[in-house]
């Protein structure tokens, strides 16, 4: 299920699925995190050799990303979920606008700073490292946070 970190060339990715939700709807019920995570994980795993098991595996990290967005998103605008397929992996991207008070911390790309417990994506990094999935967090020109996870198409790949 797990493998070494990979950083595939973004140019090789193709759109698989996209979902945009109003943030206030998304944050209205915590249970939606679970529902959305399972939905995305099922798509991530659909071409895997063992789809059910890989969906369970990938939903762990996807759920953490979705829960992080749930806790961090400013309650205006949209939250975007995008799935992209590359040659070696399926990429999950979740984009949202964070609360202004958190923006500076999200903009700090220093990985060691992110390992500090106060950082919003601390737990996500710990989990990703434990299960050996590559995750990244970045902010775009519109100050939106984009959380990305790459799930390998082949076991052990």
């Amino acid at each position: 299920m797990t493998g070494p970190y990979a950083s595939p060339n973004p140019e090789t990715f193709q759109d698989m699925a996209a979902l945009a939700l109003d943030v206030s709807l998304f944050t209205s019920e915590f249970r939606l995190c679970d529902t959305i995570s399972e939905y995305l994980a099922d798509i991530v795993a659909q071409s895997h050799e063992d789809p059910s098991r890989y969906a369970n595996f990938s939903s762990l990290l996807i759920n953490e990303i979705v829960e992080l967005a749930f806790r961090s998103a400013k309650p205006v605008g949209n939250i975007d979920f995008n799935l992209l397929r590359g040659d070696a992996c399926v990429r999950v991207c979740v984009g949202f606008t964070p609360d202004r008070t958190d923006l500076l911390r999200w903009q700090n790309l220093d990985r060691s700073a992110r390992r500090e417990e106060y950082h919003p994506d601390h737990d996500l990094l710990v989990l990703a490292e434990a299960i050996k999935v590559n995750v990244q967090a970045e902010t775009d020109a519109d100050d939106r946070v984009i959380l990305t996870a790459d799930f390998m198409l082949q076991e052990g790949a």
Binding site: T2, R53, N63, V126
Partner: protein, 390 residues
């Protein structure tokens, strides 16, 4: 001592010094974990040098829950340095061992063990690859009957189907070819059997069967997904068939059907030498019972399905005989049974040589009945199904 919430629970088994945590644990805040943590905390404080935390049946977890567990486990590791905590994870749940290993790497008295065999008592007896041809022959013999029986239980083209405990996957490939399901998931707990199943499916050009490694008692498949769920010859080798049936019920759509087959081994028969054959198969039933398996389950199917909540229950029996196709196939199956039942199981039970000799004789007489030009040999099977209410 136990604590249940709607989706997860913790129970302490003080005989085995085991905390069993199970379910889908994705709380929105630590407060939702309070009851479960209380059970874990009190269990960890009980007597004993080793405490097991069984997470085999935790299918989902979030970091909120993990941090809560980490805190309780770390507290105990630090305050009870002589106490060893062993986290028992399932190989089916690919994330659980690596995640809990992060705790084991910090706490010297905490370790993680991966549980990946002996899900069911009978597993070790039939996982030998030499048994595969026999399993295929058995399916070939039963399929002659089941291809006619299945439509009476609701099987038709285009359904979404799950074959649970699919073994080497031969039944799934037959279903695929005969009934062209819209979706077909085949689950088993044996990686070796699944590897074989994938190879066979690929050889037949059957690319759309979803083989999945899993524990049938806690499947990763979502609720209400399948129109038709099959589970053949497997409930009888579970020590807790009610748990398995609960899972079959869960994944079946309302209005869908669960189809099971089971045997009544003591009713295997043959002529000539009927008495010897009868005695041996009565002993087979007792032997399986010794290992917590019930190969007399066939006629109990109606009750089991009823107790599990199904309605519109249908039950029928059929007899696989030496007259179905090549009698040599029947004889091969009996010889394989003799090897496993007399050669392995009876030996493991500690049966004396005289018993084993007499036990083997019944199988030999059954083979003789199968191959005798005027002989007759039979193996009775019960096929039953129930509908999940709307």
């Amino acid at each position: 001592m136990s604590q249940f919430s709607s989706s997860f629970s913790a129970e302490f088994d003080d005989i085995n010094q085991e905390i069993v945590l199970s379910g889908r644990i994705r709380p929105s805040s630590p407060s939702e974990m309070a009851g479960v943590l209380d059970v874990i905390r009190r269990s960890l404080n009980s007597n004993g040098n080793v405490i097991y935390l069984n997470i085999k049946r935790v299918t989902h977890l979030n970091m909120t829950a993990f941090r809560c567990l980490e805190q309780v486990l770390t507290e105990t590791c630090k305050t009870k340095t002589q106490r060893n905590i062993i986290v028992v994870a399932s190989s089916v749940i690919a994330w659980s061992a690596p995640l809990f290993q992060t705790l084991a790497s910090i706490q010297p008295n905490l370790s993680v063990e991966i549980y990946d065999s002996a899900f069911y008592p009978g597993q070790t007896f039939v996982e030998d690859e030499s048994f595969i041809p026999i399993l295929r022959t058995q399916t070939k013999m039963t399929w002659r009957h089941e291809r006619e029986i299945l439509p009476r239980h609701g099987m038709r083209n285009g359904l979404s189907i799950a074959d649970i405990c699919c073994g080497i996957g031969d039944f799934a490939t037959l279903i695929k070819r005969q009934f062209e399901p819209a979706r077909l998931v085949a689950l088993d707990h044996s990686k070796r059997s699944l590897d074989y199943a994938r190879r066979v499916a690929a050889e037949f050009g059957l690319t759309s069967i979803e083989y999945t490694y899993g524990d049938a008692a806690q499947m990763l498949l979502a609720d209400n997904q399948f129109d038709f769920v099959t589970c053949r010859h497997s409930l009888q080798i579970f020590d807790r068939p009610d748990i398995l049936l609960r899972e079959l019920f869960r994944i079946c759509k309302p209005g869908g059907r669960v189809y099971i087959t089971n045997e009544k081994n003591s009713h295997c028969l043959g002529e000539p030498h009927s008495e010897s054959i009868r005695w041996t198969y009565e002993q087979v039933a007792k032997l399986f019972s010794h290992f917590d398996m019930d190969v007399e389950m066939g006629p109990k199917s109606r009750r089991l399905l009823n107790d599990a909540g199904f309605d519109d229950i249908k039950v029928e029996s059929f007899m696989v005989t030496n007259l179905d196709g090549d009698p040599r196939d029947f004889a091969d199956v009996i010889e394989a049974w003799e090897d496993v039942y007399a050669g392995q199981m009876a030996v493991r039970r500690g049966d004396p040589p005289d018993f084993i000799r007499r036990f083997r004789q019944g199988f030999k007489d059954h083979v003789l009945a199968a191959l005798h030009p005027k002989g007759y040999a039979g193996w009775p099977i019960w096929a039953a199904s129930g509908r999940k209410p709307y």
